[in-house]
Amino acid sequence: MNKTYDKIKGFVDKYNEIIDKINTKVSEKKQYSYLPLTDDQKKDMKDTEITAWEDKAKQGLLKGDSNLQNMLYNLRSCFYETVKGAGISLTEIGLSTSADVSQGGKIIIDEAKLKDSIKTKGDQIQKLFMKTSEDIPSYDPDLSNSDRNTRKSQEGIFQRINDILQDNLRTVRNNNGKKGTLLEKAGVKGDYTEYNNLLTNQLNDEDKVISKLVQKLSDDEDKYYNQFSKLEVAMQKLNDQSSWLTQQLGSSS
């Protein structure tokens, strides 16, 4: 009985940890006063100061990220939506979501209630967590919304979470050639998406625009240098000629 309790507690702790991390990232305030450091600025700082500064500068980069918020919402819904055929709900076994809004939907364990439920409702608890869908037993990224809802309502919490992770982190493409949502957006190391994702592509596009602008800047600079040098030559000529004129006008009898 304790083994089952420990496993459920371990799972809930890990789940809360993930929720906490994502919550922190999507609600983190952007530090507008901490701009990226230039090389000159870094020269005057210690390594520890640079690291601290850059950590601050990175804060809030994921604030309000719609993909992460969506994942968070879906993860929460895994727990409060009824598992058809399990015959029991999370609250009945001593698991509930925190009433504290700042906790962002963390799961709270009522130890005594959970231990008691494990003793008396073991089969139902097993279904609540591990049940698979009768109608759509396997994950398929190309399911229609209606099929997804059917599958979700019939499957246990572990399967639901697995589906969400698949939707977000899947390395296999769906019929539209898309991998998981987060991979498509940010990529993952070692996968094709590491250098082929929305954010990297946007950065590359920005880099191309910047390169064009830098080239234009360089062309303009050449043009201005050229004009400046012609004007300097002209100024020298004018100075000589003006001196002569002044001399003529000043030396009249």
Binding site: D39, F228, A234
Partner: protein, 113 residues
Amino acid sequence: MDNINDLLNKFSKITEKIIEELKNEEYDQVNLSLDNREEIIYKIKRIDYDRDEFNKISLSLNLIEKEKNLGRALKNRLSEKRDCLNKMSEAKYVSSEYKKAYSVESIFINKKI
């Protein structure tokens, strides 16, 4: 052979022309016209003229004022180009710093959360 009156009239006209060329940013033409003005000066130097007459004609043609206007126009253009070059230099610095901070490999594009 040109007399002092003709030459100073040419000098006056070419001075006005250079001011106009500076307005139109025709800098090659400005230098050519200044060379032509130099030619006129050279011709004036070669003729025997009366200094008082020179002064009288210069005054009637408003040569001193025109010379000042030309000097101002040229200085303004030079300063304008210097400002442009300074701005270019700043913009190039900013773009190089941006590239360092926001390149794909930069620390700001760390996907670890």
